[in-house]
Structures are given as C-alpha cells and as structure tokens.
Point group: C2
Chain length 550, copies 2
C-alpha cells in the first residue's frame, strides 16, 4: 500500500474525529483543468443514444435503459447490460472469495485509488446527474462529485480505523499461581458477505457511495441497484472502479451494476435472496420499512421525513425569509433535508424592527420565494428541474386541494434560458391552521412549503417534535432570539433524534450536511435507521472473530 | 467524578484494546477477607424463606418467588416484590428523564461504584448462584462475581470511550472565498430509552450485566427480567445498585427488577410494550428469534448453539481426552460454550504414540469422562448440579433413544458428599455415525457428548461448519498437528463466524471466554446477534445528534 493513501485516510479520520471542515476533493469546478468542463460535456454527449461503455456485459441477457432528462424531457437513450439475479449473485459470490482475502491495507489502497479515478470524471458525472435528477449544474457537480467522494472517503477512513481497532494477534498470559497460561490469539474482522446498495433517483451517487464504500472497505462485495431513472452517474463510478480492480488483478464482480426498469423491478428479488446479507437503501418509507423487516439481513436505510422550521423570533426578518426561501427552493425542495413545514405562532413573530403578524410572516416568506424564482440570475439555477412528473403533479394537486385562498405563493413554471423544455416548478407557499393536519402532517415531497399557524412557540415545537417522532425528520431549523427557547428546542428535538440548526442566515443552509462533520440522518427516528457515518455504520458490516492457540 | 474511576476505566479499556489479560476484581476467593465466605453463607441463609430485602416495593401488587436449589432440591422460599408492566414502565420512563440528564462522567463514576458495591457481596451472590443454577461453589463465585463484574466493566469502558469519541462541541470554519462561514456545532449521544434485560437460568448475573451496564452507561434505564428460577443473584446486584443511586440522589427506577413465575410470564408483555426500546436476551433460540422480529426495537441476543470439536490428530491423546472430558463435564455441560459434537474420522486419530481407531477414541473420551466423574476430589465439584429437571430427563431420553450399544459412557448420578440430594448427572458419551443427523444435529443442552464418526477430517470440518451456519455455534475446538488443516479449519469456521480454539490441553478450556480479550458469541451466526463487547454493542444503544448555531 502506498503511504499516501494511508496518510490521506488518517487525515480524513482526524477531521472526522474532530468534526472539523475538511474536503479531500475541491468542490469548486474552477479548481480543475480549464477544459475539464467542456470535456465532461463532450463525454456525456457521446454516451447518449448508445450502449454504455465500461461495464462488462459477460452473462447479460439484454441491454436496457429508460432515463429521461428533466431538463430536456427527452430520453437519454443509454442502454446498460442487464443480468438475472442468479448471474449477479454467482459473480458476487465468486468475487467475495477473492475480495475477503485482501488485507485491510490493500482494500484501503484500492478504494482510495477508485475515488481518485472517479474524480477524473467529475464533470461527466455532473452532466449525467443533471440530466437524470434535474439538479442544477453546480449542485450536480458538487453533490455527485467531490461531496459524494468525501462521503465515500469518510466511510473508508472510519472503516479503516474500526477494522484496525484491535491488534491482529496477541499473546495472552494469565498467571495461574504456580505457572503462566499463555495463549496465542488472533482477531479477524470477517465480512458478512454480499451487499445490495439501492440508489434513489435524486442523489444517485451521494446517497449510494457511503454504503458502497463502507461495505467494500469491510471486505464485502456489492451489487449496486440504481433507480431505473438515474443510472448513468453511478454507472460511471462503477466503470472507473472496474479499471482499478482490473489493474489490481481483481474480479469486476466486487462491484456490479444491476439495472432494471420501472415496469420490471428486480430489487425485491435481489433483496430477498439468501446470498444477500446486507442492504443499503435510500428512498421512500414504505419500501424501506419492508426492507427493514427482512430477516437475516443487516439493513441500513434512509427513508423519508418531514422537516420542520420553528419560527419564533428573529433579528432580521428579511435575512431569515431569504434563507428559508433559498432552502426551500434549492433543487425545488427535492432534497431529503429541505424544510416542509414552517411553524409560526398565531401571534406572529417578534423581530428587531418590530412585530410581524402571522399573515405578514406568510407574505414575507411567499415574497422571498417568488423573488428568488423570478430572479433571472438565481431562479433557474437554484431550482433546477423536477425529477419526476409525479412531483410536479403533487404540487398542483396540493394547491388545488387547499384552495386559492390559502396559497400565498403559487408554484409557477420558471423559464430556463438554457433548457426551454425543462420541467420546472417554483415552491408553493401555503398558509394552513395547525388543526388541518391532513393537509400538512405527512410528507409532501417537492417544492411545497406549509406555513402552519400554531397557538404559540411551544405549540410549534410540540408539533415539530411530533412530526419527527411519528413521520421522521432529517433536519430542523429553529429561528429564535430567546436562548431559553433555543435550549428547549434543542433538547426536545434531540430527544426525537433530530438535529437542530439555529438562526441560519447568509451562506448557511439547513439543507447542507458537511462530510466529516455533520451526521446525515440520525438513525433514531422513522426517517432512517442509519447515519453517515458513525462507527456502527461500519461495524454492522463485519464480525469480529477471535482464535486461540496453545 | 473521582479520578480513580476514570483511571480504572482507561486501564480496562487499554486491556480491551490490547486484548490482554486483565482482571479488575480478583477471581480467587482467597484474595478476599478470611471470614468473607462464612459471612456470605450466613447472609444467604438469612435470606431464605423470607421476603427479599433491599428492593423498593412501592407500587408492587404481590410478592412472588419459586426458586428451587438444584443442590437441595428444595424451594428457597424467597419472595420478591412483583409489579405490573404499567407500574414498571411508569417508573422507568420517569427515571429516564433524570438519568439521561447525567453526564457520561457521572454515569461512569456511579456505575463503577455500583460494581465495587456489588463486589462486597460476591460470596453471598456465589451461594445464591449455586442454589439457583446448580453451579459449583467456585464457578458460582467466579462467574457471578469477578467475571461478571469484569464483563460489566468491559461494557462501561467501551461505553465511556464510544460516548466520548467525538468532541462535545467544535467551531466549524469553511472558507467561502471572500469570507469564512463559521458554525458552532455540538454533538450529543442521545440514549434510545428504556432497556429490557432478560436473564437466563444458568448464568443469572454473567449474562445479564453486560447488556445492563451497556444500556446504563449510554444513558438508558433498564428493567431486569431474570429467569423465574434464578432471581436471587441479580436481585442482590440490583439492590446494591439502588444503594449507590440513593447516595447519588437518583431514582431507583434507573434499574428495576421485574419478577414473574413460570406459569405467568410477563416477558412478552414487557418486550412488546411501545416504551421498551431495547432488549437484551440470553436464552433459547425460539424466544430469541421472536424477539429479533419485534419492530422498532434494538435487540441483542445470545441464543443456543451447537458447539463442535474437530479431532484430527494429536500429540498426547490422554491429555486431549482429559481436557475434553473436563470441558464437557464443567457445570455438567450447561455452559453455552460447552462442546456437544466431537467429530472423528472413521479412520481414527494419529497420535505421537501411534494410531488410535475411531472406537479407541470413543473409549478414550468415555474413560476420561467417567474417570473425572468418579474422581472423589474432582467429580462433584466439576459437575455441580443440573439446573432444570428437563435437562436431566433429556440425558436419559437421549441415551434410551440411541440404545445401549451406542452409549460409550452412561450418564450416572454422582454423589455429592456436601449435598446428598443434589440433582446430578455425569456426561453421557454416545458414538454415532455422521449419517444419523437426527441424533446429533440439533442442540442437546446438558451433559451429552456425541462422538460423530465422519469420512475424514475434511468431512468433520464440513459438518462442524454446517452446524455453525445452520444451528449456530459459540465455540469450536480443533485438535490437529497439521498446520495446513489448522489454517483451513480456522478459515472455514471463521467464515461461519465461529471462533476456533486449537489443541487446548492442561489449564486451557474451550468453555472459558476471558473478559477484555475473548469476544463472547460472535453475533454472526444463529447463536446470537451480538457480542460481549465490541463497539456496536454500545453504539446501537444511543444516537449521535449534532446541532449547529450561527
């Protein structure tokens, strides 16, 4: 193993241990070669209407693919080799034999090399992400490129530390009075076996690589099952990994891509197969709940949640409305961390410039959301496009069901100069009474914000905590100038395993979870049972076994 | 917190990290005060035919108890306060509020003090263990006293380390080009909630305290539900803990004892209650499997297994037979780590003194087992007594079902001079062909040893691995002078998550798992899903939650 891989892992682990800012790969596209963007676009364009290059198709029974660009509303025409469950698991089981025999150091070396190799295609991955998820160009680059790589590096470094936590062998000596009893003991982290990593349509690499690299560093092989509408970004990642495996004389079965279609999904068949020992999943709650019940599997989930904002009192109302508008508009509210319900007391909100009534708060948020959407320099780039037609329909249906009187900001199509056919929708802002639980107290995925009128700040907090406990929550934002209420909010929301961000304005947004510092999804409420990245995210993937010799 | 508690925790953790020999409490009764044994006996005798003293009975609806001494075959007549599930959970939930507000340092201090306090009653606990489990005096002392305390200390020290792994607060600074974005972040290990710890009849403290102290150090309160036939040892532990809690001004609801009877068990009602978030369990596989399926609970199990011995080739046959005989006889095979199936090739076993046929191996093991049982200085003290009448019946039924021709050593009642009424049974040694799977390929709890005739050593290994994979295994012993076969055995058994001990003779026994060094139960096969003590045994009991402020 090269010294540099270990050094980088140690550095990443120190950052993780200290929860400090750290970035193994620059998140700014300008830090890369001047022509990297153009080359990435060219590579992406070449891949269109073609069979995907770089994946072994040995044993595949057909080529399939049905991705559609949310920006173009046209099919990409890219086909991927498809395999039966039997073929996938045969290759995986065979590769497992080989991969589990590599040392932790070898695996660390290879996996860091994989990430470096992937980084050479960050721009192509960015375009692939744009045209499958609808994310803007900059978000696509950051989320699927450096931020994803950093989350993978986080898993590798935590993995390396956990796997080397105990000595591989020791001499154990116990004095028995008249003599010493000496036993030679060794300790081995034994991998659990084949891992199935199920991706989602909105963050095809960022949500996939943590589980993938966590399984790989612990000696397990993986089958990556992307969402059928969002394959290309992770296909590029897998193809680059295959190059590194080939260089190292390792089988490609260590990581396989399992593609399917919406009409003929293969996920259940894979998940229920006896040879699959672990499952990583990002997606809707119903399927995640089902996976969690499968017996004999170690399952890691990130499911849906309902994220709350508790708006109690603020200094600068316009800075707060602006921040909230951006958090709700970023990728059209399609981030798992986006706020949905803003709880505001019926008596309104105190600000440094005087008191705002509930209605004024609603108008303020609505105006900020509309202002952002209509801003020609900001709107289209912040919103990106709507990944799934169902999401666009949900926005319309929700507005219709509450009636125009409740709609403070209507969702509108936002012109995208670069992509005139883009499927866009600005957030709708809806005023609703706390009593109308059927309206706001469930997940409304997409650009939908409810400003929920409550009795007072304590009631707001109570409802936010209820949502987190019953429906799950990944984030919570609290705006308050009252330190006592802030402490109470922190304690109450933490008790339902929900992190709180306080008084974010300016460049800090509740949606953003930084690698090495912010645990993503607590794992303690219905929004998921696992965290990027704590020690158990690693330790549940292998088993310590100790042997003793006289 | 006193410096000494932290120092002791650090010392214990270093031993655990290095897997070296360490004992926080001496395991030799002679290391204690000269009259400690007599005082312990006196205290035990005083407790007989009486209401148990030291547990709060506030809110209890009756006093119950049905323990029977396997040495006396008489009821102990000790009654304990019984509570309804509602009362138990009301107290637990209330105590949880208080306990979760203590700092990690406070909890560590209090829990180490609890163990010190418990150590003052080691001798009384030893007699309590003898007369509920049937363990011999020395094993009762060691297993329920210092060894149990050490396993608890192991959980505390791993817990302390995991809970303090990340800083409680940091300043996170990210350069944004023209300015720095600074966020103040904190990280809190939030306890999951009420923990139910279900004990077994054979090791009432050793198998209970690891989960109990792991839950407590992580800020959770616990309800201890002992086996109705084995309450007294852990009742003493809980009573001593209550003294420490009282001194610290803490509620006794932090640890409660929930007693029931065989006829009216309350375990399911407790386990299924929504307020119970975690379950630790030691016992039979059927109930353990049921507990593992309960949704919304974090469940840690040690269930049954079938432990194998692979007898390939040896140097000193009599040393090996003697070691095996002791391992099978210790506490009459009622240890979860005791060997059941000894796999021997039909071609026999090579030794330094020549070749032994399969029949000679069977006779050798049988002779060693009989010799030990008949040895007046060793027999009764090694065997102890049979905890449950069902176990004694199983031995008889098994001998009958295989027929006298197969019984190489019949189980006999072994006279115990001190306790003439003791329920005893020496191990039966039964010769059986590998094909007769219905005889040997299932758990036969108690003093039953099958010497299974296989095709060859590889076949022996294959069967041992099959047993571990399908039925679970906590230990495996391999006797071989062939280093290639030893390596193969290690790899094959480790792949089914079973540790292997090689060529134990003399004072080393496969049954013994040392705290701080040997992981007990791997957690990777059907014998259980958890380990004493790896990091996840701790980390699955709390959730990291981070908060961010501008």
């Amino acid at each position: 193993m090269t010294t540099s891989a270990i050094q980088r892992i140690e550095e990443a682990y120190q950052a993780q241990l200290n929860r400090t800012f750290y970035a193994a790969w620059p998140e700014n596209p300008r830090a890369y070669a001047e022509d990297a963007g153009a080359k990435g676009l060219e590579a992406f364009q070449k891949s269109l209407a073609n069979n995907f290059k770089g994946l072994d198709d040995l044993g595949s029974h057909q080529w399939i693919g049905e991705e559609v660009s949310p920006f173009l509303q046209q099919g990409l025409g890219i086909q991927y080799p498809a395999f039966t469950t039997e073929v996938l698991l045969e290759k995986a089981t065979s590769a497992q034999q080989r991969w589990s025999k590599t040392s932790v150091e070898q695996r660390a070396d290879i996996l860091v090399a994989c990430l470096d190799k992937v980084s050479e295609r960050f721009f192509e991955i960015a375009y692939a992400t744009m045209h499958t998820t609808g994310q803007s160009y900059v978000m696509s680059f950051q989320a699927s490129g450096p931020h994803a790589n950093d989350r993978a590096m986080e898993a590798i470094s935590m993995g390396y530390k956990e796997l080397t936590r105990f000595p591989s062998q020791v001499e154990w000596v116990k004095n028995m009075g008249k003599f010493d009893l000496t036993l030679h003991k060794n300790y081995k982290p034994i991998p659990k076996g084949v891992s199935l990593v199920i991706g989602c349509s909105t963050f095809p690499t960022w949500n996939t690589v943590p589980g993938l690299f966590a399984s790989l560093i612990t000696g397990n092989v993986a089958i990556v099952k992307p969402h059928p509408k969002s394959i290309l970004p992770i296909a590029i990642v897998v193809a680059e990994m295959h190059k590194i495996f080939a260089d190292a004389g390792l089988p490609q079965g260590i990581v396989q891509l399992a593609v399917d279609t919406v009409a003929k999904p293969i996920t259940k068949e894979l998940a229920e197969h006896a040879a699959v020992k672990m499952i990583d999943y990002t997606g809707g709650s119903a399927f995640g709940d089902y996976l969690e019940t499968l017996s004999g599997k170690t399952v890691f989930t990130e499911k849906a949640g309902v994220n709350s904002v508790i708006l109690d009192s603020v200094n600068d109302a316009s800075a707060v409305f602006g921040n909230l508008a951006f958090a709700a508009s970023l990728y059209s509210g399609q981030m798992c961390t986006a706020p949905q319900n803003v709880f505001v007391s019926e008596s309104g909100v105190a600000t440094s410039d005087g008191h705002l009534s509930y209605d004024e708060v609603v108008s303020g948020i609505a105006a900020a959301v509309k202002g952002l959407a209509e801003n020609p320099k900001m709107g289209a780039g912040t919103l990106g496009a709507i990944q799934n037609e169902i999401t666009a329909k949900r926005v319309k249906d929700t507005m219709e069901s509450v009636g125009s009187g409740a709609v403070a900001a209507a969702s509108v199509v936002v012109d995208n100069a670069e992509f005139p056919d883009a499927r866009t929708a600005s957030p709708t802002v809806i005023a609703v009474d706390a009593e109308a639980v059927s309206t706001w107290k469930h997940e409304c995925f997409g650009p939908i914000v409810f400003v929920v009128k409550t009795k007072d700040a304590d009631h707001s907090l109570q409802l936010a905590a209820e949502c987190a406990r019953e429906l799950g929550a990944i984030t919570c934002q609290c705006y308050s100038t009252n330190s006592e209420f802030m402490d109470k909010t922190e304690e109450t929301m933490n008790a339902v395993f929900t992190p709180v961000s306080f008084n974010f304005t300016g460049a800090a947004f509740v949606n953003q979870h930084a690698a090495y510092s912010d645990f993503h999804v607590s794992g303690g409420n219905p929004s998921g049972n696992a965290t990027f990245t704590d020690a158990q995210y690693i330790n549940r993937r292998f088993v310590w076994v100790g042997n003793r010799r006289m």
